[in-house]
Amino acid sequence: MDEDLETLNARVSAARAETEARGETFYPGPSRVHLAMFPPRERWDDWVEYDATAWPRKDERRFMLVPTTCFNCEAACGLLAYVDRDSLQVRKFEGNPEAPGSRGRNCAKGPATINQVTDPDRILHPLRRAGDRGGGGWVRVSWDEALDDIAARIRAAIVEDRRDEVVYHVGRPGELGFTEEVLAAWGVDGHNSHTNVCSSAARAGFQFWCGQDRPSPDHANADVILLISSHLEAGHYFNPHAQRIMEAKANGAKLIVMDVRLSNTASHATHWLAPWPGSEAAICLAIANHLVQTDTYNRDFVRRWWNWEEYLRAEHPDRETSFDVFREILASLYADYTFEFAAAESGVDVQTLHAVAEAVAGAGTRLSTHNWRSAAAGNEGGWQVARTLFLLNALLGAVAVPGGFYPNGWNMLAPRTPVDPPRPAVWNELHLPLEYPLAMYELSFLLPHFLAEGRGRIDTYFTRVYNPVWTNPDGFSWIEALADPDKIGCHVALTPTWNETAYLADYVLPMGHSSERHDIVSYEQYDGQWIGFRQPVLRAARERMGETVTDTRQTNPGEVWEENEFWIELTWRIDPDGSLGIRRHYEAPGRPGEKMTVDDYYGWVFAHGVPGLPEAAAAQDKTPLEYMRRFGGFEVSRGVGQIHEQAVPDAELDDVHVTAHGRVYSRAPALPVSYSTGASPDPDDQGRRAAGVLVDGVVRRGFPTPSGKLEFWSSTLAAWGWPEHALPGYIRSHVHPERLADGEVPLISTFRLPVQIHTRSANAKWLNELAHTNPLWIHPSHARQLGIATGDLVRVETHAGHYVVKAWVTEGIRPGVVACSHHMGRWKPYGETEGRGSPRQRMQVSDVSVERDGDRWTLADRSPHRPDATHDPDLLRVWWSDIGVHQNMTFPVHPDPISGQHCWHQAVRVRRAEPTDAYGDVVADAARMREIYREWLAKTRGADQVSPTGERRPHWLKRPLRPQRAAWVIPSDRSPAAGGGA
């Protein structure tokens, strides 16, 4: 380039740099090379669009665009709220291009947030029960009344050392630990999550391998994507993963999907395998065997990173500890898992299995895999599905490399916060009882049974984004527990909308939707770390206009609040004078004695806990908090890469001790890192920290497992009572053909619909219009045997009840298996609305009668779904009347004895409905429910029988709200030495 051109080039480059440094867009588009799907961010203060409803007139509307984060699944996609500058109302939500995970794209659930925000039936004021719990009477109370009452109860529980009686039960967390900090500040082990009806099994399978409990697949760069799930189209992280899977497909990647149903995901697959439910691990092992027998696995990776030395010493002490010996044993370990065996178990033909195995072998290190709920959550032993799936990555070395599997924590930001209370000194056995030392995590869905057995009592019980009556199996047992004030003293439902559980609350406290609350989020969605900010958009808009807002209620509709400010206020009322030592955790940083505000909290986090953010904000003349309020997202790093390969710096190595299999312990503290380190390997007996692992003569960071390596052989499973499952293996499911009675077939109940949210989309008309019912999928050959046609009423009989639903005859499911989505069948008790002024929830909800006759519970539809436009004319546009059946109430609990996961698949009989049956009928037998609970409980091997350490649980395993170490010790009267007591 001649000098003039160089000068010109430099001028344009400088102008671009200067523009972008101001946070503006140099090429705003639209053009063929710079898309303008989004308004350029420098115009977010005053964006003009034509009013679509005024067409063909061109009426201009002026908007302020304010970012927030979607809360309609865990993916935390960025949203941009279009706030009308004239009315200061949110008109619509679109994608936020500044959100690194979602990159401006959304699924249907994001824009449908506007339905939730404008729902005429949403809860706008605090309510207190009037009359019996569940009786349908409510009175409006002030926030002060509610807070004072609840705070007094919690204070009494703390002062009287009844700390186990304070419980926070959460469904979708949607945050990075704010509430766990609150519970820790109160000194209660009160965190109870929904994990065991969701992801426990998958977490267990991954954590036993690598100390991190989720995959972070690099789909976009994979050559082969193997999904045991419907993640492309419906699963966890649907939108961020789907867009990256499609990128890979566009670049020629093969997509392999194992799914009993022809899910939306399966419809995109190169290979769709519809195996018998529960046989997925057998298929994975057959593929693994193929890799081993054909010597197409990554020997060097296996040699360097598997804990084969530890395995040989433990299981083959008579053999030489050499890699050659291990290879020889490995070749024999899975030799029986032939394609023929897998075909017999799964029903998938040998040729297809061979083709899939060849595809996997050809992927090399570019194999991305994923399993979350699906087969892992459906089957007894389902955790081995995740463990055998990861075996394929581990064999190919497709771990923390482009196109492979990254341990999730490395791709998550774990920011420091200004709140750092000590861990609780207590262990709540209602959450993690001795029977389940390896569970991931709390046995939340067994709570009613534990309460019925008298294992404990709850004084103050918060449910938050959680609807156990509807979501959990055996929902009638939840009704029984929640209705009994002797079991649960005060139930506080924190919810923006009515749900089946909230009707059984003492207080219903309205909390904001995604555009009405603060949270920070960071999830593993590619090989990078990012943080997103959820914020009340009208508060942010008013602040942008120069107003001062000190309480989110000032800008939210009605008296709707947000949890952050609620928890801080509640904490102060529990300990108003600070004498309990609780309040101090929520005093403003640098202003002792003053209450912490959300600006204090997030201002501190963004300034001190997010690497690179202060510098990026300063470059735009903003504080870190201003930056996040303005843009909503920040990418901390991209290409995190192979943390395990990193050499441990000398500063972290002092008084080093190296074990026989290379685990390195050090007295020097760890330097701070921005990622989540995962599990917490124990120190050695001298108290040195597990600092790394010796590989090829270098101390490397390794994996957060006891050995520091990938644990092909789990010393934890071997030592804690399950030596027969210490290796990746195949456990025959409770719905394996050998375990089914004559006439029984498996029912798949776990599958999601991509346009629905578990329990919070009933008020989203747009979503309901897309999917609103849940017929029973049944194959034509199966339907012919039963004499059933599409639309016929059928009875589905579980081991403890039955429900009546319509059939959908389809070739999109494996013959001999039936399926019914769990999303539908929302209801409200008839007494809630009978003769009362408030309609409660109307959209997508049936009025039902809930009856109990001894052990027989019934739920019957009293009023077909019908539009009611009393308050909302849009309801007149509801053209559908079939809104599904609530099947989960007929499911007995099936806690997996190792992972604690509720194994969702049911063995059922399907037959034509009786003449007296009606659509939506649900019947359950409480006595059978209890029997089946006890049958599954009997499978466990409790810590009081097997603990090798005298503790309740392996200390290295992850656990929410980890109590202090002393609390892990099994009480002496229940220890193995004392003969146990569970």
Binding site: M1, D2, L5, L8, N9, R11, V12, S13, A15, R16, F26, Y27, P28, G29, P30, S31, R32, V33, H34, A250, N251
Partner: protein
């Protein structure tokens, strides 16, 4: 390469950013939408396939070859991969990427899909368009020439030009096929725009019938065939004018286009002579 990125965007429909870009690039003014439409929508279509395709139209094999280039790089080609904006921006992007594969790809893109038609195209923009597009075209040409000097042509010739279909034979293929081939630069070696035909009608004193180019050209040929053919022959010189500055920097490409245009010129003059002879023969007693 930021300069080229900016020049690429400048070929898009005028928007709020064009004024700022015009200032930065030293162009005399920002374009107005009517000028943009006149230049890029009605006369000088900014797509490689128009100049490198056998039919002289959008799409076809030429666009497929460009799309194949992007696929070979592992990217998904957009719906208009051969638009000048896409090609210039892709080139700028590849040059910004610091690896050997990208550098090689950039050189291929330069000689295969940019220099194979842009010199002729840009020269015509300079000749026909109102400001600021002549200045824009001159600047693009300067950058391209500097790149051509820095990155010489790979050994193989340009695939677009390897097997051109050539000009149709009016006797064997018919009049319509011949006119179509005249309007396809790859076959005739020169560019005839709507504005050129307006100019021809005025110069020859013929009636101008409004329509697409083939219709207009046929109308001229029907009125004064020999004069129109001679005007076309004279117009082939625009190709020589366009490629003259490139003789040293892209000699093979320049030679191909000039040779093709000269062959067309000879054919046109022969045909004009035939018309004259036939007319004289028809006038003989």
């Amino acid at each position: 390469m930021e300069l080229l990125q900016a020049l690429a965007v400048f070929a898009e429909e005028p928007g709020p950013t064009h004024g700022r870009l015009a200032d930065l690039l030293g162009l005399p003014c920002a374009p107005d939408p009517a000028t943009f439409s006149d230049v890029f929508l009605f006369n000088l279509y900014p797509y490689a396939s128009v100049y490198l395709g056998g039919e002289g139209k959008l799409g076809g094999d030429a666009r497929d070859r460009v799309a194949g280039f992007f696929r070979a790089l592992g990217s998904v080609p957009g719906p208009e991969p051969d638009h000048v904006t896409v090609l210039l921006a892709a080139y700028a992007g590849l040059r910004r990427t610091d690896d050997h594969r990208a550098a090689h790809a950039a050189t291929v893109l330069l000689h295969e899909h940019l220099l194979s038609w842009l010199p002729l195209y840009l020269a015509r923009v300079q000749a026909l368009a109102p400001p600021p597009y002549p200045q824009w075209a001159a600047l693009v040409a300067r950058v391209m020439r500097a790149e051509a000097q820095r990155h010489t042509q790979p050994g193989l010739g340009c695939t677009h030009l390897r097997h051109p279909p050539g000009l149709a034979d009016p006797d064997a293929d018919g009049h319509d096929a011949f006119v179509d081939s005249l309007l396809a630069p790859l076959r005739s070696g020169f560019v005839v725009t709507g504005a050129d035909l307006v100019h021809a009608a005025r110069r020859l004193g013929l009636g101008l019938r409004i329509g697409e180019r083939r219709f207009v050209l046929n109308a001229l040929l029907a009125q004064q065939p020999a004069a129109t053919l001679r005007w076309l022959a004279e117009h082939t010189a625009t190709t020589g004018d366009a490629w003259r500055p490139w003789v040293d920097d892209a000699p093979d490409l320049a030679r191909w286009w000039v040779t093709t245009a000269e062959a067309t010129r000879a054919t046109l003059l022969d045909l004009a002579l035939d018309v004259d002879r036939a007319r004289l023969a028809g006038a003989a007693p």
